[in-house]
């Protein structure tokens, strides 16, 4: 049976069909759906770990114990997991382990673009790349086999357009993988990376990568499609699809394994074509590998290393480089729609982050942000977040500014899940080193930005079991915060009072700003849209500065509340100086949502 699956769904399906027993991950766009889908399959264990490094250790442990395992992450997740990635490359395991890196060219939902094939080469780990969902599924099988046959982890690298494109996939049945080893491994030389053993392992992994290059010569996912030999294209991933479409007649070598590359196959291909060109997204990775073989090749001198490619950009660049005649260019007069109002992502109506950002904006505080929905507090009209780098960075950066003698009191803001991810050691650092950073944990009871995943604070696991709900207050105390307060995220006065108290003290402190994400199904049922008393509203415009999409400025300048969007969070009502926005208990006839 053929089914349209996204690349992510296909990887989950492949992991299930080919006997993966244990999977661990931290959510991150564009990788999140892999674990969400895998977790629904029968006879598997899947979990959200607090961060990618922990997730990878878990997958490695499962493979040490003899079960096939999977760990998935977005590209920057591999930065977090890099330590684990490198030792796993050194030790190998007792069963197949596949790590998926979902890179995000064009940064649809990321802070940077990075080409994680480099990590493969860096750690001497083979890299496989699918060109569509069918291959995404099939390569899980191939990767598990390579992992077991060569005693190595395998990096399955995808990009946003593979992860989130749906293409037809042939479904199969589950084949059970190996069961757990009777006794857990006891192999000092292979698994204890003391220098004495590590020195012996390094030559092993160098030999392994040489053997893999030999294996790549006959790897069935490395394929040549012969056509016109005046142009030979080497490509991989989604770029292969653009190449096929723009150059239907050229000879194409598709690499399903992009590290290590097959030297003989490449050399033969290069010998038979007049001009050799690599089409790949982001870094000149294959291009440089080919160049190291001493073969003349072009690539990034023609196609941009920045952002995603598409058929149009490939065609234009090809015409420019003389690979296609000028007549191939599709002439098209770009319509001029004029300047249009932008529609950037915004904090939703009823978002529990709005009141706290209103307060930090009002108090003109320097705020160090983090990764999550609340990064949107950096945009107007709230524009109150001044730094945002990576997961868990807020606290360390605020502490660094403090220790540098910054005259302003630095604030760190991060979400519940991000605090569990990498905020915890940073807060410990503040306490240990006598810092005075004020940390705001915005606890919206879910991992929101990636689409509502459970986390250690929610009391539910990825596979729906109820579990310990980790409480922030004792955790913050344990990490050395003597002053810990919890405030209602929707109560502007309470948030402001607590923050002012924290500012008065010279000690570090933590505030838990608690309020549920407005998009949680249970919260949606409780929406009560508010109303503006048009008599009292004088059109001062103050309420618009909370940046809520439900507030609309009418022609006369007065505010109107869109009842389809308003949740009744009452933040705007608290901000209004003329008490023109009615609170829920002031609405004579409560509207039914």
């Amino acid at each position: 049976m053929k089914k349209l699956l996204s690349g992510n769904e296909a990887i989950a399906r492949g992991a299930w069909e080919y006997g993966v027993a244990v999977a661990s991950a931290y959510p991150g766009t564009p990788s999140t759906e892999i674990l969400e889908e895998f977790a629904k399959m029968p006879n598997v264990y899947a979990e959200w770990a607090p961060n990618e490094k922990v997730a990878m250790d878990v997958a490695i442990g499962a493979a040490y114990a003899g079960r096939r395992s999977l760990c998935t992450m977005k590209h920057v997740g591999l930065n977090v997991a890099a330590d684990a990635f490198f030792y796993a490359a050194m030790t190998g395991a007792e069963a197949g382990m596949v790590f998926v890196s979902a890179d995000d060219p064009s940064m649809h939902s990321s802070q940077n673009e990075q080409d994680n094939r480099n990590f493969g080469k860096f750690a001497r780990v083979p890299v496989v790349e699918p060109t569509d969902s069918q291959e995404a599924k099939d390569l899980v099988s191939a990767a598990l086999d390579i992992s077991e046959n060569f005693d190595t982890p395998v990096l399955l690298r995808i990009t946003t357009r593979i992860a989130h494109s749906n293409t037809p996939v042939e479904l199969g049945e589950r084949r059970e993988g190996p069961g757990p080893l009777e006794t857990y491994l006891r192999n000092f030389e292979k698994y204890v990376m003391l220098p004495v053993n590590a020195r012996k392992r390094h030559p092993v992994i160098e030999e392994r990568i040489a053997k893999l290059a030999e294996f790549a010569e006959t790897f069935p996912f490395n394929q040549i499609e012969w056509g016109d030999t005046r142009l030979g294209i080497v490509s991989c991933g989604v770029a292969f699809q653009y190449a096929k479409e723009v150059f239907p007649d050229a000879s194409i070598l598709k690499l399903g394994m992009t590290y290590p590359i097959p030297p003989k196959m490449i050399r033969d291909f290069a010998d038979k074509v007049d001009r050799l060109v690599v089409i790949e997204e982001l870094d000149p990775f294959i291009e440089n590998e080919i160049r190291l073989l001493g073969i003349p090749v072009e690539g990034k001198s023609i196609f941009s290393p920045i952002g995603e490619l598409d058929t149009r950009s490939v065609r234009e660049a090809a015409v420019e480089a003389g690979l296609l005649p000028g007549s191939a260019r599709k002439t098209y007069a770009e319509p001029d729609a004029g300047p249009l109002p932008g529609r950037p992502p915004v904090l939703c109506p009823g978002c529990p982050h709005r009141a706290v950002f209103w307060v930090t904006h009002k108090l003109k505080l320097p705020v160090n942000g983090d990764i999550g929905c609340y990064t949107l507090g950096a945009l107007p009209p709230l524009d109150t977040i001044h730094t945002c780098g990576c997961m868990g960075a807020s606290i360390g950066v605020a502490h660094g500014a403090d220790k540098a003698g910054s005259p302003e009191r630095n604030i760190a803001v991060l979400g519940d899940s991000t605090f569990f991810h990498t905020g915890m050691p940073a807060l410990l650092n503040v306490a240990y080193n006598r810092g005075k950073t004020i940390t705001l944990v915005l606890d919206n009871r879910i991992t929101a930005m990636t689409g509502h995943q459970e986390n250690p604070g929610t009391g539910v696991t990825l596979q729906g079991q109820s579990t310990k709900e980790i409480e922030f207050e004792p955790l913050l105390h344990a990490l050395g915060m003597e002053q810990v307060r919890t405030v209602d995220a929707f109560n502007v006065r309470e948030v402001e009072g607590a923050l002012r108290d924290a500012l008065k003290s010279d000690e570090a402190s933590a505030l838990v700003v608690r309020g549920e994400c407005a998009l949680l199904p249970e919260v949606r049922k409780k929406y009560v849209p508010l109303r503006v008393d048009q008599e009292r509203c004088n059109g001062c415009g103050l309420c618009f500065r909370v940046g809520c999409p439900a507030l609309v400025k009418q022609a006369d300048g007065k505010a109107f509340i869109d009842p389809l969007l308003c949740t009744g969070c009452e933040v705007c009502a608290q901000v209004c100086g003329r008490k023109a926005i009615l609170f829920k208990d002031q609405l004579q006839e409560p509207s039914v949502a």
């Binding site: 494109s165 293409t167 098209y332 992502p345 689409g451």
Partner: protein, 195 residues
Amino acid sequence: MKAVDFTLVGVGGQGTILASDVLAQVALEAGLDAKKSEVHGMAQRGGSVISHVRWGQKVFSPLIGRGEADFLLAFERLEALRYVGWLKPGGVAIVNDQAIPPVSVSSGGAEYPTDEHLLEVFAAVTPRLYVVPGSRVAEELGDARVNNVVLLGALSTFLDADAAVWKAVIESRVPPRYVEMNLKAFDRGRALISA
């Protein structure tokens, strides 16, 4: 059936993803190859969204280049204008007659483009612009969210695939208690074009 390229655009939360899923599945049911591509994550938070669907004997790229879409299915007027560049000259544009002002407009800083502007911009690209009351029809049916299926109904009148195929796919994609409303929405959408 021949190769057809569609771009679906709208505001996060308007149901473009479900509509794209249905559209791609219809091709598969009709024996074609199909690919669909969209972006998740940050874009979902009320942002502007675009989804690509391609039908063909053999589809390679999951993305459609600017100026190459046969159909532009817009769920919102401002987004129709934003993505008009994807439509090929002479292509079909079906635009839901709904305005969702972004915060920059609702808070009074920017102007929402006028109806005349929309007509003028599209006239330079294609005579085949259909502005349809998708949201109004959906509200009449009792749920504003089925506007996506109303628009699919309108779109279906331009395509060879049988209405029964569309309906079977819609039925397979929505929860049982919403099937009837969605099938009605589809028929009402078809009537918007043939009427």
